[in-house]
């Protein structure tokens, strides 16, 4: 039975093989795409539009009436005399501080680590695996662990600093700017390996001959880095920079777990504010408007960064 079906199936399709090779059969393509597109439409495309719609309403998840208020949610966030102005812009400031200090470190340190590992030496893969390991732990594990290590009284960090003759009672989590040092430092510890792995892959794609040619021309280590490594790494650098900016601007878990936004609300980031406003106090209209303002700020930052890098490229050539 099976053999007969097999042979009958083979014969006609073998004859029809040439036209079939083009495979312009549209219905099948859409069938393959359908499961993905349903999820994509409902949980990615629809929310983008729906979020805008929510932001134009006084939208409380728990109340039946959701009156249309036009741009009121936006004007309230932009009006210095409104009650939501200070908390929102305070949180935007916190996100700004965190991004400003974490992004350069998250570029320079992983790049340094990647350069140190961009040669064959025994143990290289082991080191790479170790530096990447914290990244596979979630932010909750990392946050709970470091809150313990950074505890002002019983924490290991202050203890080790004390034995080294350094200050041993730093309030890492309850005072500013110490809390920023802690949040940035822990984030570097957590995600250094991720950026380093991407840099390392990028470094391996820079052609060896370019280094050799530079060496023949008498270029020193710094000059080779400046004129061979950096230009060769530019696309990867841009990608890592963009991804890191987006990730830092979306910082939430570290301050949720380690500082709970304290002292005061100094380390409460914009996402923290949006989540609290929208998903805890259910002022979803205002929270949706706030997330659009944050997104616009982020897009503006990206454009500026992109432009800055373009400029330098032009002036160098």
């Amino acid at each position: 039975m099976a053999t007969t079906t097999a042979t009958t199936a083979t014969a006609p399709s073998a004859a029809a093989a040439p036209p079939r090779q083009r495979r312009t059969n549209q219905p099948i393509a859409w069938l393959f795409l359908a499961p993905y597109l349903v999820l994509f439409g409902v949980f990615v495309l629809l929310p983008i539009v729906f979020g805008l719609w929510i932001s134009l309403h006084s939208w409380d998840f728990t109340l039946p009436g959701k009156p249309f208020v036009g741009l009121e949610n936006y004007t309230a966030l932009l009006d210095p005399s409104s009650v939501s102005f200070d908390p929102f812009w305070g949180s935007m400031r916190a996100t700004g501080i965190f991004t400003l200090f974490s992004v350069p470190l998250l570029i320079v340190v992983p790049l340094g680590v990647a350069l140190a590992m961009n040669q064959r030496f025994p143990g290289r893969n082991l080191f790479r695996s170790i530096f990447f390991a914290p990244y596979v732990l979630g932010v909750a594990v990392v946050g709970v662990l470091w809150r313990f290590l950074l505890d002002a009284n019983i924490g290991l960090v202050n203890h080790v600093m004390g034995t080294l003759g350094l200050p041993d009672a730093t309030p890492w989590l309850s005072s500013v700017p110490e809390a920023w040092v802690a949040l940035v430092g822990v984030t570097v510890w957590w995600t250094l390996g991720f950026n380093a792995v991407i840099f390392l892959a990028g470094l391996q794609d820079v052609p060896r001959e370019l280094y050799e040619a530079a060496e023949v021309d008498g270029a020193g280590a710094w000059s080779r880095f400046r004129h061979v490594t950096l230009p060769g790494l530019r696309p990867v650098l841009m990608f890592v920079l963009m991804v890191t900016i987006i990730a830092s601007a979306n910082m939430f878990g570290q301050s949720f777990i380690m500082t709970n936004g304290q002292p005061g609300q100094e380390t409460r980031t914009a996402i923290f504010y949006i989540a609290e406003t929208g998903l805890q106090n259910f002022q979803m209209g205002s929270a949706a408007a706030a997330s659009w303002i944050l997104t616009l700020a982020l897009m503006l930052t990206s454009v500026v960064v992109f432009w800055l890098f373009r400029e330098r490229d032009g002036s160098k050539a």
């Binding site: 073998a14 859409w30 999820l39 929310p47 979020g51 080191f127 596979v136 290590l149 998903l279």
Partner: protein, 270 residues
């Protein structure tokens, strides 16, 4: 030069490994010893008290959270790989009107900051009656744009001849996909599945807000509950953190090549 490199890398290794070792060590300490100053490096009287306590406490059912996380992350990974593989194959090998638009739209969302989706997706998930269920942490993140992008690149790189000869042997599109393309793509599928599993296992903000019942938490969201319930019981918190990290660390130890490969490729092709 060589010594300098090993010294630097060795110091970094200490900085990366010692916090994790101290976490494990503390989880086997007694309540008193866990917050003693100066801290002991190794437990003086090793005990399983902390584990026994958190695994049996009714308001923090850590074992249940473990099962929840396992189930959610596995289901999410399966869903991500299945939907992305189908879509990526259509985009890699089939010609149809609108292909460029669909692909462009998917790639464009790679650059949409996730914050924009949080509030509306909460509302959507609420209307689907998924709040406080694991479905809420499994389904909405399953449309993985990176996955489509990544697998499409991989499929395009496969030699076409194998598929052509399968067609000549009378296979239909589905058979070619399932019996020729998928088996050839095992490394790429495994990489994507691992990345999806890890991302879902470690997701934090979303489960913190969409799951409320104690028995519905994932491990990551549960850890913050554990923290607010036992503010300075570091023995309990470290035991919870160990339970949340051991599965992913084991997975990582066995499959780190795939994980690192996947991450490095995200940079080169992004």
């Amino acid at each position: 030069m060589k010594a300098l490199r090993y010294a630097t890398l060795g110091l970094l290794t200490l900085l990366f490994v010692s916090p994790l070792l101290f976490m494990i060590s503390t989880s086997f300490k007694t309540r008193v010893e866990s917050s003693r100053t100066p801290p002991t490096l190794f437990p003086e009287e090793p005990t399983l008290q902390a584990y026994a306590h958190i695994l049996t406490a009714a308001d923090t059912p850590v074992f249940r959270w473990f099962l929840n996380s396992m189930f959610a992350a596995t289901a999410n990974a399966v869903l991500v790989v299945a939907t992305a593989a189908l879509a990526a194959y259509a985009l890699a090998r089939m010609e149809f009107r609108g292909r460029k638009v669909v692909f462009g739209l998917i790639v464009a969302t790679l650059f949409v900051p996730p914050v924009i989706l949080v509030i509306p997706n909460y509302e959507i998930v609420g209307r689907l009656f998924w709040l406080d269920t694991l479905t809420a942490v499994i389904v909405p993140t399953a449309a993985n744009a990176f996955g489509v992008f990544f697998l499409r690149q991989f499929f395009i790189g496969l030699p076409k001849e194998l598929e052509e000869s399968a067609y000549l042997d009378g296979a239909n599109t589905w058979q070619v996909f399932a019996k020729v393309v998928l088996p050839l793509s095992r490394p790429a599928l495994a990489t994507l599945a691992l990345l999806a599993f890890l991302t879902n296992w470690n997701d934090f903000l979303w489960p913190v807000y969409v799951l409320f019942s104690p028995e519905m938490q994932t491990l990551q969201a549960g850890l913050s509950t554990l923290q607010s319930a036992n503010n300075v019981r570091y023995d309990l918190l470290m035991a919870g953190a160990v339970i949340a990290s051991v599965p992913v660390l084991i997975l990582y130890a066995f499959a780190q090549r795939f994980v690192i490969e996947g991450v490095s490729r995200s940079g080169l092709k992004g």
